[in-house]
């Protein structure tokens, strides 16, 4: 059975391997340059007086940056081109009637096929993610934004789970629809919808966020690559202040809520009068965020969710295929 799977999918395998190899070469070469650039900047910073952080570095290039971001779509590719046709193309061509009339059960046929496809998807997602994670290392250290939506999704272990989910979704859609093109369309739409919904609606709540209140005049920055969910200012009565764009703020507090003395600013040398400081002390700023040390917990939870979804889709496929007439 494994030989049949290899014979049927060897072209896909070779194309996939070639794409991965090309990607790896590009990433390794440019990644080495990025690392070099970063270390040089750090060395220069360390030599300089009072510099703790290089700051303002642009690492890599726009083209590579675009390529890196586009790996958001990499898991979908296995779903569309490996998952969706897996059963659908055979049902369309009638070759299931060839395979299932050999001395082999459908269960075994399905198990071997799905097993190899899942393995391929995991390798695909894992290799891409490993390369991206390594390439982005200096950027992550520099910008502390590894938790941001869009970056969280292309690094660590979640791309592996996304790939497994995508291929399982494709297989299930192909099994239910029995036609390749509609299965591809459903897989694409389903993948985007599920990924978006989970990233936007569920991910911020995997653990209850931390909210810190602090004086508007002091400022507060959590350690490391935290994920900021909300930020604002509350007034003396605890009411949250609206933050329209087109008004003046002083330390995040709308000038209109403060005594007139606060707005008498002389350019470059603003020492607020006592009345103003007094008024500001009634306001508090807050920051709602997920601390940086939760990063791997979040990666783990998201991975778990997509693995469960993938398992459910495989179960649907198996039940459908084993119960249905050929």
């Amino acid at each position: 059975m494994t030989w049949l799977v290899w014979r049927q999918h060897r072209i896909q395998f070779l194309v996939g391997a070639a794409l991965l190899a090309a990607f790896a070469v590009l990433i390794v070469i440019t990644g080495a340059q990025v690392a070099d650039q970063y270390h040089t900047a750090q060395a220069a910073c360390a030599a300089g007086h009072g510099c703790q952080h290089p700051g303002g570095l642009f690492l890599g290039s726009h083209a590579i940056g675009f390529l890196i971001i586009s790996t958001l779509g990499a898991p979908a590719l296995v779903g569309l081109f490996v998952g969706a046709p897996l059963v659908a193309a055979e049902a369309e061509a009638g070759t299931t009637q060839f395979a299932w009339m050999q001395s082999i059960t459908r269960k075994r046929w399905l198990t071997v096929k799905i097993g190899w496809m899942l393995l391929a998807a995991a390798v695909w997602g894992g290799v891409i993610s490993a390369l991206v994670t390594w390439w982005e290392g200096p950027n992550n250290a520099e910008q502390l934004n590894v938790f941001d939506p869009g970056r969280f999704d292309i690094m660590g272990i979640v791309p592996v789970a996304y790939s497994l989910f995508a291929v399982a979704l494709g297989i299930a859609a192909g099994t239910l629809l029995r036609r390749t093109l509609p299965a591809i369309a459903v897989t694409l739409a389903g993948f985007i919808a599920v990924r978006t919904l989970i990233a936007l609606l569920l991910r911020p709540h995997y653990m209850s966020a931390v909210t810190v209140f602090y004086k508007v005049t002091s400022g507060f920055t959590p350690a490391g690559s935290y994920w900021q969910l909300a930020q604002g200012v509350v007034g003396p009565n605890g009411q949250q202040l609206a933050q329209p764009n087109n008004i003046n703020y002083i330390d995040g507090v709308p000038a209109s809520s403060l005594p007139g003395a606060c707005t008498q600013v002389s350019r470059g040398a603003f020492t607020p009068p006592a009345s103003c400081t007094q008024a500001l002390s009634h306001f508090r700023a807050f920051l709602t965020y997920q601390p940086a040390d939760r990063y791997w917990t979040f990666q783990g939870i998201e991975t778990g969710i997509f693995l469960i979804l993938a398992a459910a889709l495989i179960a649907v496929t198996a039940v459908t295929l084993l119960r249905r007439d050929a």
Binding site: M1, R7, T95, Q97, W100, M101, S103, I104, T105, A326
Partner: protein, 311 residues
């Protein structure tokens, strides 16, 4: 004219390769096969005849275990059709569409078969295809329809099954290849241990090799049995045009054709015909099958068999 009497020299029927009772398959509201009860003894070549849409493919797929019956039972090689390697190893089923992997060569298919079957006679396929000058290394999608059918048939035989279920196998073959292939089947059956069911909507395709018949029309079994017995049980009666109610009382009239001067009837005999006004003659397989198809046809079509009535 005893229908139960065995033709001389033929062995008693052995154990049944196929035995069904009340086999029914419905797809939603459409009944594809209804109450099918048939039996095919081992070692026979059975023609499965019926007009398009009669349920031939449905029956074959049920027997192969590719689909499950809505009602009724089937026993194939002594067991219920199911997804089980031992059951499948004994069955060779070839669908009408000749499903093969279009991008794979015959040699690839031979290799797949070797991996997936306990018995596999790869040499026989190579020999046969080489003999037919069919390239083993070309993608089967690039072969002609006839060549593809030959590849599929050779692969089915390589499995060394006990029962072959072939859905319209000769449809894609030219007359010479047809003759050739049916000869090959007859030899394989003669060598022992093989039963074959071949479907077709044309009797002429299969008449030469088959010794058993299942006839389906409108999802129902119209006839099932040994061809010689069936031919012996039926006769064509030709006589002056007159009242046939007496005849109809003692025999089963399958089809009647009336002209102003005479009446021709296909009857299933129930004892000798005593009416001297009617002349009895033997029936050919084609006449028999067409008679049963005509009987089943809807009334508008059936009227066509009453030739020249209005003149």
């Amino acid at each position: 004219m005893n229908p139960i009497q065995e033709a001389p020299g033929r062995a008693l029927p052995g154990p049944a390769a196929i035995e069904t009772s009340g086999l029914t398959k419905r797809y939603g509201k459409v009944t594809a096969l209804s109450g099918c009860t048939v039996s095919v003894p081992e070692g026979r070549i059975c023609a499965l005849i019926g007009p398009n849409g009669a349920g031939k493919t449905t029956l074959l797929r049920l027997l192969a275990g590719l689909s499950r019956p809505t009602a009724g039972q089937a026993s194939v090689n002594g067991s219920t059709p199911r997804q089980d390697p031992a059951f499948l190893a004994d069955i060779g089923y070839l669908a009408q569409e000749i499903p093969l992997y279009r991008r794979m060569s015959a040699a690839d298919h031979i290799r797949v078969g070797a991996h997936l079957n306990p018995r596999w006679d790869a040499e026989s396929v190579r020999e046969r295809l080489t003999g037919l000058k069919i390239p083993l290394d070309r993608a089967v999608g690039k072969l002609s329809g006839g060549q593809r059918a030959q590849v599929a048939l050779a692969l089915i035989l390589a499995k060394r099954p006990r029962l072959l279920l072939l859905d319209e196998p000769v449809a894609a073959l030219d007359p010479l290849a047809r003759r050739n292939f049916l000869g090959l089947l007859a030899d394989a059956v003669a060598a022992g241990g093989l039963t074959v069911v071949l479907s077709s909507h044309l009797v002429a395709d299969l008449e030469r090799v088959c010794d058993h018949l299942i006839m389906l029309a409108s999802s129902r079994v119209q006839l099932c049995g040994d061809i010689e017995d069936l031919l012996a049980e039926h006769q064509i009666l030709t006589g002056p045009r007159k009242d046939t109610t007496a005849l109809e009382r003692s025999h089963r009239v399958v089809q009647v054709t009336r002209t102003p001067r005479q009446t021709t009837m296909l009857v299933r005999l129930n004892g000798p015909v005593i009416d001297p006004a009617f002349e009895a003659s033997d029936v050919s397989l084609e006449e028999l099958v067409l008679g049963y198809m005509g009987q089943d046809a809807d009334p508008a079509l059936a009227r066509l068999t009453t030739v020249g009535e209005e003149q």
